[in-house]
């Protein structure tokens, strides 16, 4: 995960250096209905390797315009396009299982022949190139903690055992500091009350109650 994050950062820096004039849109063929074409690319980093390769699951990725108005799919190289999109401000979302993509705000300017500006809505970051990358991976399952002593100790039953151990071994230690006479008196008192001998093991507990 750390490697991908740093890689995204690296790419960002790279983009900053390569501030080439780039347009994602293409004005429509003459004579047809008004509208522009949005071209873009979805890049999904493969976990573990340093190269951007497209995993086999790319065929299940959907790109959605304006909350479901249009849905398109990715080509093998990750490119997608929406045709005949009117000028205005639009929203593009990428639905991919296992990744969290920020929706993208897309402004198509009618004045500048369909010049497109894009920005991620989650962090308001502008995109100099229409390449959509996941902000983070999504892990849908809890990860089972591997076996450790701590997990057993922390479980309710482990706590019960621990508590009993404390009572059995630490309490007598505490009682050693007590006045022996006082203790004898207390024990006698208890015997008079007919408390079973088992309870006499825990005079400290009986007292604090």
């Amino acid at each position: 995960m750390a490697s991908t994050r740093s890689l995204i950062l690296f790419l960002l820096i790279q983009f900053c250096f390569s501030l080439l004039p780039f347009s994602f849109a293409q004005s429509p063929a003459t004579g047809s209905t008004e509208g522009y074409t949005i071209y873009g690319r979805v890049k999904i980093p493969s976990v573990g390797t340093k190269e951007y390769i497209l995993p086999g699951k790319i065929s299940n990725v959907k790109v959605i315009l304006n909350g479901g108005q249009r849905v398109t799919f990715l080509r093998p190289d990750g490119y997608f396009s929406f045709h005949n999109v009117p000028a205005g401000t639009h929203l593009i979302e990428v639905a991919a299982i296992g990744y969290f993509f920020s929706p993208v705000r897309v402004d198509i300017s009618a004045r500048h022949h369909g010049k497109i500006q894009a920005a991620l809505t989650e962090n308001r970051r502008g995109l100099s190139e229409f390449v959509l990358e996941p902000l983070r991976d999504e892990q849908y399952y809890e990860v089972r903690e591997p076996f450790s002593i701590m997990s057993v100790v922390k479980s309710p039953m482990g706590l019960m055992v621990g508590f009993m151990l404390i009572v059995v071994f630490l309490m007598p230690k505490l009682m050693e500091n007590m006045d022996p006479e006082e203790m004898r008196r207390a024990q006698e008192e208890m015997r008079n009350q007919g408390v079973p001998s088992l309870a006499s093991l825990l005079p400290g507990a009986a007292r604090s109650n």
Binding site: R75, P86, Y141, L201
Partner: protein, 983 residues
């Protein structure tokens, strides 16, 4: 000691609170949830069996799904659900490796890789007018040429390369006003044939390489035509005339048009009904349906028509299939009771059948609507045939050698409405678990489970644990369970079929194709509307089975006559059905039941009458008693009016009907049409239980929730901003929110969100409403919450008032006085588009609520209501933190672990239904779309029962260890005592 207890409790609390809400381990998948994938009703099917390896069938469906199915088992190899308005018009295979689909009225052409379903290319086809769309792939092109795809769409003809989707040339026919109906290719020429108007027949000849217009010709037919033009062979067409008494045969040999007319009465003497040409493509032949008779008619080389055969009761006729050089076969189906006869005949040889099989198909599947055939070579080198059948209930069957090889219940891809029913109570004599486990096995199982939780299990152990869990859960039993997890989900599908699904494993318990919702001559396009619980017996009527009510209508318009069906929920038998004389605009389940626990329903028609069901004198009595307490409202979206109604008198009709009532309008709210348009209304669920009316604030102040069943949330958008995102600017968009009391018509709360637009998805629960909309200024989605509190009872805080009886808690809540309410609201950003939104329901309403949000990615996210608390502040005080108030953030968090669909997708998600289980902590969730998904969720974890992975073995071990320790220490202490005494 007290300190120790406190530490212990704190630790316990810490442990239990580390994990908020819903989460799942990977090995728990499938324990409580199930997921079923469907495709919908098949429109086109293509077999791909030429090559060795996997045999498959490619389909496109009415749910806009393109899929590849395994021909052996019917499983899905791959599947793509296109957008909702991306209807698939054509499906074909190009180059033997690409699946080509034409969609969106002939404007989007896509190629999918045949083995894995990866999209290879996508081309947008331009055009200026809408027209019929045709996909045509020449089957035997010259080998040196690019494999061409010819597409007619948007009024132009496009030639597209099938390798990369590039448009090679385009010929616009928009100026010619021709309705193109056929594309014919001959060696290097392409002919486009079609009508202008209904009697002028045009043929254009184009150069196949450049699209250059070579010639055009037209002729005026002697009469107007009816229906579609059917191509019989390369250059011959047939069409019916307007009177449907003549068949016109058109021949365009070498671009010259000639035609002939033949009277149908010449072909068949006793013809009476209306003739229809069936759209099956057969070489030199066509099929004509008159009443129940199907005539196969041969077109000779001289364009004469010869009657070949008459088939009685033919249900479906397939396209012709080329089985060898010059040999074509086609299939048709004959119904005979529950038996179905499948015939495969050679087109040129009518005397013998290539195949004649009779199959028994469950009559709940209805008639066969479509049939597709495919051949294979048997071991003895003869031809065998398999047939893919699309049934009336939208299910898909593959028939081979007289048997159903596999079937798919694809009607479940189009669920219209859902309700639930309890299962029968477990009675004596009903077998419980038959296999009794001995103690050793039981212990062994738990030791295995313990190993699993401690992560020291081997892979075999993991498999054994999974199997054991599934076996031990008893989740698919057919009886009611103590926790109320086992229920029947009763779903109504678009095909008019009702299915009962078991919540344990999602299997179909029973299904019934309702005859009230079947296509008949009187009722051309029946639609199922809703499904209601009609009779829910408990307590004194337990011997009766519960029943459900299905409401349908004869057509999509409100004025179509309605039909009701009553179905036994245990057996799936139709108890009764009614074809109503009146229409249905609204069905109102009343909160009253009769002595057999049948719920009273009011059906409102479009002529301002209300009809009471069930039609019994007892029901009338009950209604008369509550006559003045029945209120309802209606929403007129188009006019922007919300009205409130109450019953008035019996109908004033010529025929006396004591179950019919007139009603009066009590109030109406007319929204200004120039500035507001109703886009969403939502109300509380009538079965929701609210546990407490009061909410204690951090400063020990008490707020009273305004809980009312008669409360309506209305969202209005600016008329300019009712379209999609991107069509309106922030300045011309606003959203106005109303909360309305539906008895009095009082507006309790009104709020405007400037710069916002729909679509609005909302959910109302207890005293709050949460709604999702789009903020154009921030260009993000937002979710807002409004909580309504009753101010009139706010002074009931003083204990002395309660003691002295001066509080007003017992005073009845009346709609006559004006409620003093206050509202608290707050808005948060939310990342995704939303398709559906729902809230968890529990049986007592004690458990905290979670919102279930169906996202645009077809996942369902569970979001704690605490995140949508209007009292969240930036820096909550210590007291507020203890109460569980989360620090304010501008957007709602999306925690991947709280997706209740985990790594699955409910493709084409349309709705989410929640049902309370008997166990208070748990809520059952059913999400439907093209797929179905069911799970149980516990919004505050299962605090009232042990979890599935609770380790009894560990508990037992601990107890044994403790007992042993006690005995050891006891013996030790006795010994010590004795020694002390000897001293």
């Amino acid at each position: 000691m007290a300190m120790a207890i406190r530490v212990f409790l704190l630790l316990l609390f810490f442990l239990s609170s580390t994990n908020i809400g819903y989460s799942l381990y990977e090995d728990q998948v499938g324990l409580m949830d199930w997921h079923q994938q469907y495709i919908g009703k098949v429109k086109h099917a293509l077999f791909h069996t030429q090559k060795t390896g996997r045999k498959r069938v490619l389909v496109s469906t009415e749910e806009n799904v393109v899929a590849s199915l395994d021909l052996r088992h019917g499983e899905i190899f791959w599947r793509h659900v296109l957008g909702t308005n991306d209807v698939v018009d054509g499906l074909d295979i190009a180059l033997g490796k690409y699946v080509i689909t034409l969609s969106s009225d002939g404007s989007i052409l896509r190629a999918w890789n045949l083995p894995d379903g990866q999209m290879v290319w996508e081309t947008s086809l331009q055009g200026s007018k809408t027209s019929k769309s045709i996909l045509y792939i020449p089957k035997n092109p010259k080998s040196d040429k690019d494999d061409l795809i010819l597409v007619f769409g948007k009024g132009s003809l496009h030639a597209v390369s099938s390798i990369d989707g590039e448009v090679l040339w385009r010929k616009d026919f928009a100026g010619e006003s021709i309705e193109v109906s056929h594309i014919i290719q001959s060696t290097d020429k392409i002919y486009v044939a079609g009508f202008v108007g209904s009697s002028k027949f045009y043929v254009y000849g184009l150069n196949a390489d450049s699209g250059e217009l070579l010639k055009n010709d037209h002729t005026i037919l002697p009469c107007d035509t009816f229906g579609e033009l059917l191509s019989v062979s390369g250059d011959k067409f047939v069409v019916l005339d307007k009177m449907r008494s003549k068949i016109l045969t058109i021949n365009i040999k070498n671009g010259e048009i000639s035609y002939k007319q033949t009277l149908i009465s010449d072909l068949i003497k006793e013809s009476s009904g209306q003739a229809v040409i069936l759209p099956s493509r057969l070489p030199e032949l066509f099929a004509l349906r008159i009443d129940s008779l199907v005539l196969t008619i041969k077109v000779t080389n001289e364009d004469d028509l010869v009657l070949v055969d008459k088939i009685n009761n033919a249900a479906a006729v397939s396209d012709a299939l080329s089985i060898s050089e010059g040999q074509h076969a086609f299939a048709f189906i004959q119904h005979e009771g529950s038996n179905i006869h499948l015939f495969v005949k050679d087109v040129n040889d009518w005397n013998g059948d290539l195949l004649k099989e009779s199959i028994i198909i469950d009559h709940q599947r209805g008639n066969i609507e479509k049939i597709f055939i495919n051949n294979y070579v048997r071991t003895d080198r003869s031809y065998g045939f398999r047939a893919l059948m699309v049934m009336e209930d939208h299910s898909l069957l593959l028939v081979q050698q007289g048997e159903i090889v596999w079937s798919r219940e694809d009607g479940l891809a189009s669920v219209v409405d859902v309700t639930t029913s309890e299962l029968p109570v477990e009675k004596e004599g009903v077998s419980v678990a038959t296999v009794e486990q001995n103690l050793f096995e039981w212990l062994k199982g738990h030791v295995l489970k313990l190993k699993g939780t401690l992560m020291i299990a081997s892979p075999e152990d993991v498999v054994a644990i999974q199997a054991m869990r599934l076996r031990s859960s008893e989740k698919s039993k057919m009886t009611r369970d103590h926790n109320g997890f086992r229920k029947l989900l009763i779903v109504l599908t678009r095909a008019g079929k009702v299915f009962a699904l078991h919540t344990g494993d999602g299997r179909v318990v029973w299904s019934i194709l309702l005859h009230t919702l079947r296509k008949t001559e009187v009722c051309e396009h029946p639609v199922g509307l809703n499904i209601y619980q009609w009779q829910v017996p408990h307590h004194h009527a337990l011997d009766e089975n519960p029943s459900i009510l299905v409401v349908g209508r004869c057509g999509p318009s409100l004025a179509a006559p309605a039909a009701l069906s009553f179905i036994d929920a245990y057996t799936g038998k139709e108890l009764n059905s009614l074809r109503l004389a009146h229409t249905i605009a609204q069905v109102i389940p009343l909160p009253y039941t009769d002595s057999t626990e049948q719920r009273l329903h009011l059906i409102i028609d479009i002529d301002q009458h209300a009809y009471l069901y069930p039609r019994t004198p007892e029901a009338i009595d009950i209604l008369q008693r509550e006559f003045s307490n029945v209120y309802w409202y209606s929403v007129e979206d188009d006019n922007g009016i919300v009205r409130g109604h109450a019953l008035k008198t019996n109908c004033i009709h010529k025929i006396v009907d004591e179950y019919c009532f007139d009603f009066r309008d009590l109030w109406s709210i007319v929204f200004p049409s120039e500035s507001e348009k109703i886009i969403a209304t939502v109300t509380r669920k009538s079965n929701e239980v609210v546990h407490t009316q009061a909410k204690v604030m951090t400063d020990y102040d008490v707020m009273y929730k305004y809980v009312s069943n008669n409360i309506l949330f209305v969202a209005n958008a600016a008329p300019k901003a009712t379209g999609e995102i991107g069509t309106a600017t922030p300045e011309e968009a606003w959203l106005v929110i109303y909360i309305i009391d539906t008895v009095t018509g009082r507006i309790l709360h009104r709020m405007t969100h400037h710069g916002c637009q729909g679509p609005v998805h909302a959910v109302f629960s207890e005293n709050w409403v949460v709604y999702h909309y789009f903020n154009l200024r921030a260009h993000r989605y937002e979710m807002s919450v409004i909580e309504v509190y009753d101010q009139s009872r706010a002074d009931n805080k003083d204990v002395w008032k309660f003691v002295l009886g001066k509080h007003n808690l017992t005073s009845p809540i009346s709609s006559y006085y004006r409620p003093e309410v206050t509202t608290k609201s707050q808005s948060y950003f939310f990342t995704h588009s939303v398709k559906a939104i729902e809230v968890t329901l529990t049986s007592k309403g004690i458990t905290s609520k979670q919102l279930l949000i169906g996202t645009i990615g077809d996942q369902v996210l569970a979001l704690d209501k605490r995140f949508l608390d209007p009292r969240r502040t930036l820096n909550p005080s210590q007291a507020e933190k203890e109460e569980g108030i989360i620090p304010l953030t501008d957007s709602l968090p999306i925690i991947p672990q709280s997706y209740i669909t985990h790594s699955l997708k409910v493709e084409g998600l349309r709705g989410i239904v929640t049902v309370p289980a008997k166990l208070e902590s748990t809520s059952l969730v059913f999400a439907y779309g093209v797929d179905l998904f069911f799970t149980q969720i516990a919004p505050s974890r299962t605090y009232d029962s042990l979890t599935e992975d609770f380790s009894y073995a560990l508990l037992l071990l601990t107890i044994v260890a403790l007992v042993a320790a006690i005995f050891v220490t006891w013996v030790l202490s006795e010994r010590k005592d004795l020694q002390e005494k000897w001293k």
